[in-house]
């Protein structure tokens, strides 16, 4: 990073591969299909001389990670990786790695950001990235499809993909009956275990063996059909119907709430928006439809799945739905807890929407209002936040079976806690509702 611009240096050791990427036409082919992030070659001082080239890639608005994706996003990323590999092979090149972290999302579509991930194709050797593909993509997809969507978060613990023996152990036996999964997950795991530490590398290194173009194509094709056949439906999500039923809002209240949020966004004109607890993106779209890069976070994978399907199906732009539990958001992980950034480190957003959220965190999760205000102050500069009082039917049902240990949870308490970190720019009571919307600005 230099003066806020991102550069990438191509070192001499990689000159041949980079030049081939361009001269073979692969770079152009992938950029044209929207599969690879475009870049410009620029004249800049290298960070460490000598440099073969300095690249300035197009920036991704918000960097996200596979453990924050919904099933559909992971599947799209997997299929994109295989498509990139296929196109690469047509141009005499091959992917050196198949890490899910090399994929980012742009307007709902997956894109490879690791431009230097290509090498000259040598089809007499198997695909070096095969293991990584199976662990980063196939294993978690199968776990979600055959067991539970919540298992996708395992990719946060296993940054090099889910170990195949772990996946095989967690999957039901019927998953192994499917030939492609039986091969690439179960039998593959057994082979890994068998050759883990038996010195066979040394023995194998003394022989030569056969792989060829057809074998390569066969493996890629088999992985593609394995991924394509996996599916997951969000029908069981308890939250997806939230806005369809909307028992907390009359039609008049809904409409007024929407008008207020629109007026807030138009007043602030933010450069970026985070919708916290945004469900399927109903309000996030107020920002994205205005051309503002918007991220819509929700803890429920079902909601995010629906939001993603809508973005893809409607070819929507500027909207990125992600899975995020705001009471336990993505931490910094990897080496020194810095390899992959925490949520806060990827902010602050110009503006955050915290609509119909506070009561879930303050009452549902017992988060003190002070702490909540602190937390939100770190995440954004401007804040559109909805206060949901105890008299609201939703809060009443939350407290129905619990002791009310929230004496501070009142409108005054709320304004007080937030008033210390934010200045209140606007207050609007929602018509035909007891909820109140605030526009606040961080101090």
């Amino acid at each position: 990073m230099r003066d806020g611009v991102l550069y990438r240096q191509v070192n001499p050791v990689f000159a041949e591969q980079y030049d081939l990427l361009i001269s073979s036409g692969l770079f152009a082919a992938l950029v044209e299909r929207g599969l690879l992030i475009p870049h410009e070659e620029v004249d800049e001082e290298p960070a460490a001389a000598p440099a073969h080239r300095i690249l300035r890639p197009e920036r991704i608005e918000f960097v996200c990670y596979p453990y924050e994706w919904c099933f559909g996003q992971l599947k799209d990323a997997a299929l994109a990786t295989l498509e990139i590999q296929t196109v690469a092979m047509e141009h005499g090149m091959s992917l050196r790695d198949a890490s899910a972290f090399n994929i980012q999302f742009r307007d709902g579509r997956p894109v490879l950001i690791d431009t230097l991930s290509f090498e000259r194709l040598d089809a007499s050797e198997p695909w070096v990235a095969y293991r990584q593909f199976c662990q980063h993509f196939l294993a978690p997809l199968a776990l979600v499809a055959y067991r539970d969507a919540r298992l996708q978060r395992l990719t946060q613990l296993h940054l090099d993909g889910i170990p195949l023996d772990l996946a095989a152990g967690l999957l039901p036996k019927r998953a192994g009956l499917k030939p492609s999964l039986g091969m690439h997950l179960f039998a593959h795991a057994r082979s890994q275990r068998r050759h883990g530490s038996d010195g066979s590398t040394e023995r194998a290194a003394r022989r030569r063996g056969g792989f060829n173009e057809r074998a390569f194509a066969g493996v890629i094709g088999s992985l593609r059909s394995a991924v394509s056949d996996l599916s997951w439906s969000p029908d069981d999500s308890p939250w997806a119907g939230y806005y369809d039923e909307a028992p907390s809002y009359s039609a008049q209240a809904s409409e007024h709430k929407r008008e207020i949020v629109e007026s807030f966004v138009d007043r602030v004109r933010p450069g970026s928006v985070w919708d916290l607890g945004g469900n399927t993106g109903a309000f996030a779209r107020i920002a994205s439809s205005r051309g503002i890069p918007t991220v819509c976070f929700d803890a429920d994978p079902g909601c995010v799945e629906r939001a993603h399907a809508a973005v893809v199906g409607g070819r929507e732009t500027n909207l990125l739905p992600l899975v995020m539990d705001l009471s336990n958001p993505s931490p910094g992980v990897g080496i020194a807890n810095r390899e992959r950034a925490s949520l806060a480190e990827r902010g602050p957003a110009d503006m955050a929407l915290a609509l119909a959220l506070v009561h879930h965190l303050a009452i549902g999760n017992n988060v003190p209002l002070d702490l909540l205000a602190d937390d939100l102050r770190r995440l954004c500069t401007w804040l559109a936040i909805e206060f949901v009082p105890k008299t609201d039917p939703q809060v009443r049902s939350m407290l129905a079976l619990r002791e009310d240990v929230f004496p501070g949870y009142t409108r005054e308490g709320f304004e007080d806690a937030f008033g210390r970190r934010f200045s209140r720019e606007q207050t609007e009571e929602i018509r035909d509702s007891e909820r109140v919307l605030y526009l606040m600005r961080g101090r």
Partner: protein, 82 residues
């Protein structure tokens, strides 16, 4: 026999073979890759690749055979399924 069934039988038979085989008589990495392919994965893929490569060849042969037969049997141009 329909291609789908032939393919399934091929897979079932060879799948059993793959489970039993894991013959170490396979390839050697000739260069040091920056990513560790994993010995078990490397060797496994060679076996699997051989099998799947055969399947790819068989599918191509089958398609060519079908195409040849439908060319022979039709005198007038007819709409064909792909």
């Amino acid at each position: 026999m329909r291609p789908g069934i032939a393919r399934s039988i091929l897979f079932a038979g060879v799948f059993a073979l793959v489970l039993l085989a894991a013959a170490p008589a396979i390839a050697a990495p000739r260069h040091i890759a920056y990513l560790d392919p994993g010995t078990g994965s490397y060797m496994f893929q060679v076996v699997v690749g051989a099998v799947l490569g055969v399947a790819v060849s068989m599918k191509l042969m089958w398609k060519r055979t079908l195409a040849r037969f439908s060319r022979r049997s039709s005198r007038d141009p007819q709409p064909k399924d792909s």
